[in-house]
């Protein structure tokens, strides 16, 4: 009798001790290290100063998602871009203000009518296999990108790259495309990497057989489901301009980078705290307190995407514009954002179609009053006018992204307050990507959209993307937008596009979200633009 009481007490003490252990760490307030508030442009850092940090050593990065392939032409995966762009480079790239800057191309000229762009390439750039890069490689890579990538097919239909001579590649567009350079400069998923012509010719639908690029790091090894190992490319020819965003000088300040795939977020954090990882990318929001209270750890915030409500405009209640405007009027965006991102510093209330860090280039006052109206009365009235009769609507999302899921749960609650009956269906990612293509399966999707270099690339602009935007007014605007002779003229159409956005309501924008990355104090120089930037990063350990 007594013994089993001893056992019971022991068990309770063991549990209590472990809970106390966790609590003790979070109770230390310590200094609030480096959690930079997004709105103050911290995500757009000024050009990195040249730190005097020593070079050498390694970076061990705990990364949650393993990319399907490192071949960027084939996949839109952001994980593939973040890892792969250390190995591959593009003709042009973006600086911290999203202006187009040279990378593998030294300069470019657009013809008067906007249908031809002539790129003059840098001389003496070598691929990791020693071959010198010429216009033949550029033409082969870019033509493949045009044919199989999403952006290529959407914006560059019928366009062709030709090698005029060894140092000159000419892009001939079927019609003037104002946004061409901005899209070519994009460094996120599906970016237009330049690879050797031979590898392009031998590629199959799953991707190129070898990863050979021109970047500051070269591909060493991929142990499936374990890690990807990149090593410094000793013969890399960096640009001379100061580093700014993705542009300018790229230097490999460490000898090895390891992307270690850690699907479990608590393992990521534990590994960072114990010193086994140098960087933990995209940690879960719950772990932030534990990380911030540790003086050896820095926490950084970077934009992750826009949380949007996608309407099924092909079938069902929301084929009616009034119903969509009703939802837009009725929701309280802030509560949904808090549910999704847990703290104010991890989200931005932003009425623009593009993200808060793109406001310098793409912003408009139009629609501000229609954003986050939080007016349930107006919503109920509009729903009545739209003919809502108490049917149950289906909300669909995926559990694999915590911001989408938590946002969807909060949204469902708000719908209830508007008198709308709803059912929330949650699936894993592959199931979700399949079911969302079926107009019979949902009324509203809760999705985070990755930011794009220019507005016409946003997913909800496409007729074939779930939601099925079909607006003649938009079609006209897009023709004007894309057909403008240059980017300046295109930007003036943006105002009208945003006006359309708030009238037609293809999606309801909830807000902009941030993700959190964390690193050891010894890691210096890490910045972000469409993914973590790992060149110019040193590890003093």
């Amino acid at each position: 009798m007594k013994a089993s009481r001893i056992v019971r007490t022991l068990a309770i003490w063991m549990v209590a001790a472990s809970l106390a252990g966790c609590g003790a760490q979070t109770a230390q307030t310590g200094q609030n290290e480096g959690a930079q508030p997004p709105g103050q442009g911290q995500a757009q850092p000024e050009p990195a100063k040249e730190p005097q940090a020593a070079t050498g050593g390694e970076l061990k990065i705990a990364y949650q998602a393993q990319p399907p392939t490192l071949d960027p032409h084939v996949t839109t995966s952001q994980a593939s871009a973040t890892i792969g762009r250390n190995v591959f480079e593009t003709l042009v790239t973006a600086d911290s203000k999203y202006h187009v800057q040279p990378m593998l191309a030294e300069s470019w000229e657009q013809s008067e009518d906007g249908t031809t762009i002539t790129f003059r390439l840098r001389q003496g750039v070598r691929f990791h296999n020693g071959k010198e890069m010429t216009a033949d490689d550029v033409a082969a890579s870019m033509n493949r990108w045009i044919q199989i990538s999403s952006a290529g097919k959407d914006h560059f239909t019928g366009a062709v790259f030709e090698a005029k001579d060894a140092q000159t590649a000419v892009l001939t567009l079927k019609q003037p495309t104002a946004t061409a350079m901005a899209i070519l400069a994009y460094g996120g998923g599906n970016y237009p990497a330049i690879m050797p012509k031979e590898l392009i010719d031998q590629a199959d639908p799953k991707g190129v057989k070898e990863y050979v690029g021109t970047g500051p790091f070269q591909f060493k090894e991929w142990k499936q489901d374990q890690q990807i190992h990149l090593t410094k490319y000793a013969d890399y020819q960096a640009r001379s301009e100061a580093a700014d965003g993705l542009a300018g000088k790229r230097e490999a300040r460490v000898d090895d980078i390891y992307f270690i795939f850690t699907p479990d977020s608590s393992t990521q954090v534990a590994g960072l705290l114990s010193g086994e990882f140098d960087i933990a990318a995209d940690v879960s929001y719950d772990s932030v307190q534990q990380l911030e209270s540790n003086p050896e750890i820095k926490v950084d915030v970077a934009p992750t995407g826009m949380l949007n409500l996608y309407f099924n405009k092909k079938k069902g209640l929301f084929a009616n514009e009034k119903a969509r405007q009703a939802i837009a009027a009725g929701i309280d965006a802030e509560s949904i954002l808090i549910a999704a991102y847990t703290q104010e510093k991890y989200y931005e209330l932003n009425h623009n179609m593009m993200m808060y860090y793109q406001i310098g280039q793409w912003s408009s006052e139009n629609g501000r009053e229609s954003y986050n109206q939080n007016n349930p009365e107006k919503a109920k009235q509009l729903l009545g006018e739209a003919g809502y009769n108490g049917e149950e609507i289906v909300i669909m999302t995926s559990r694999d992204y915590e911001d989408m899921y938590n946002g969807a749960v909060a949204f469902q609650q708000q719908l209830k307050n508007l008198g709308v009956k709803s059912k929330l269906e949650v699936y894993d990612w592959p199931t979700f990507t399949e079911l969302r293509n079926d107009e019979n399966k949902f009324d509203i999707l809760v999705i985070t959209n990755t930011p794009k270099p220019e507005p016409s690339s946003l997913a909800f602009m496409r007729k074939d993307f779930p939601g099925w935007t079909n607006s003649p007014e938009l079609d006209e605007l897009l023709v004007k937008f894309r057909g403008a002779p240059n980017l300046e003229k295109a930007m003036s159409v943006y105002d009208d596009i945003q006006k359309w956005f708030y009238e037609y309501v293809p999606v309801v924008k909830i807000g902009d979200g941030n993700s959190i990355s964390s690193s050891q104090k010894s890691v210096e120089g890490m910045t972000w633009l469409d993914g973590l930037i790992l060149w110019n990063v040193s590890n003093a350990k």
Partner: protein, 316 residues
């Protein structure tokens, strides 16, 4: 004996056939396929459909099954959609970590369970017995991930005695290999030991009460010999069954433990492949796992014959 072995192995074939049909149907009927995973978040339905055709996923399901099963019968398990290797290579390379982990966990489990079980049986009804049973209950109740996370926090982060996660193969040195496996093996082994402890205790209790035990003691056989040679050996058969079953589970991959500790074993292979809908790998691994279970059962049966002469004679 040989005929017995051959009969058992032949019985494997209908089992594998049924399993192959079931797993093929289940994963092909489930929504989602490798094409959409390969193409990423922003791919359109058109692109996915095009890739699906290129990969042969739009053929009627029975045709896809026939293509696959005829290859399997020739020994070709297929090729992964994601990893640049064949399914057989993938299984083989992921097997070593799981095997090491399983063996280490099983050793730890036995080292804990058998002495504890014997002690509990010998001191039945006392405080020692109650304590052992209490721990056994705790072990069966605690979810494996809780113990794993607790160990990581204590040993990995606070004390920093052992690495938090990861894996190094045997080629990197024995200690290097083992130090990554200790925490996961302890968290798995401690939980396995709970059931084995109970089994050992009850089996021993049964045997200790037998008449031949009293006879042996009155003949003057020493205590140690009594316990190990006479009692344990007779009690061992049910314990062996439990060990066989739990080992089967360990080898086929402790999915949660492997995920938390980042061990690239069979468990992680199957979970990742399901998430990515890597059909060929999932099917191959399930067939492999079926064979493993059947073989382990076969070995346990043979060991019965080795340990207990009565079984051997019965078979003749």
């Amino acid at each position: 004996m040989n005929l017995y072995l051959v009969k058992r192995i032949l019985a494997l074939i209908p089992v594998l056939f049924v399993v192959s049909v079931v797993i093929f149907l289940i994963i092909h009927i489930t929504p989602g396929d490798p094409a959409s995973v390969i193409l990423g978040e922003s791919a359109t339905a058109q692109d996915v459909e095009a890739l699906r055709q290129q990969l042969g996923l739009d053929l009627p399901i029975y045709q896809q099954y026939m293509n696959w099963i005829t290859d399997v019968l020739r020994g070709d398990l297929g090729e992964s959609y994601f990893m640049k290797e064949s399914v057989s290579e993938a299984i083989f390379s992921h097997l070593q970590p799981t095997l090491s982990l399983a063996i280490l966990a099983q050793i730890i489990a036995l080292l804990i369970a058998i002495p504890l079980g014997i002690t509990a049986a010998l001191r039945r009804g006392t405080a020692a017995d109650q304590t052992v049973m209490g721990f056994s209950l705790l072990g069966m109740a605690i979810p494996s991930f809780l113990l794993a996370l607790f160990l990581i926090l204590l040993v990995g982060v606070k004390l920093q005695w052992l690495p938090v996660a990861g894996y190094k193969p045997l080629e990197a040195g024995l200690w290097n290999h083992l130090k990554y496996l200790i925490l996961p093996a302890v968290s798995l082994g401690a939980i396995q030991s709970a059931l084995i402890t109970r089994m050992t205790r009850s089996s021993m209790l049964e045997v200790l009460n037998m008449n031949y035990m009293k006879a042996a003691r009155s003949k003057g056989v020493k205590d140690r010999q009594l316990i190990y040679k006479h009692a344990l050996r007779n009690a061992f058969l049910p314990i062996l069954t439990v060990i066989g079953q739990t080992f089967g589970g360990l080898v086929t991959g402790a999915v949660v433990t492997e995920t938390i500790f980042n061990i690239p074993g069979i468990g992680q292979l199957i979970i990742n492949s399901v998430e990515r809908r890597d059909y060929e790998v999932i099917q191959g691994v399930v067939l492999f796992v079926t064979c493993v279970y059947v073989f382990i059962n076969l070995i346990v049966d043979i060991l019965y014959g080795v340990i207990d002469p009565r079984v051997r004679l019965e078979r003749k």
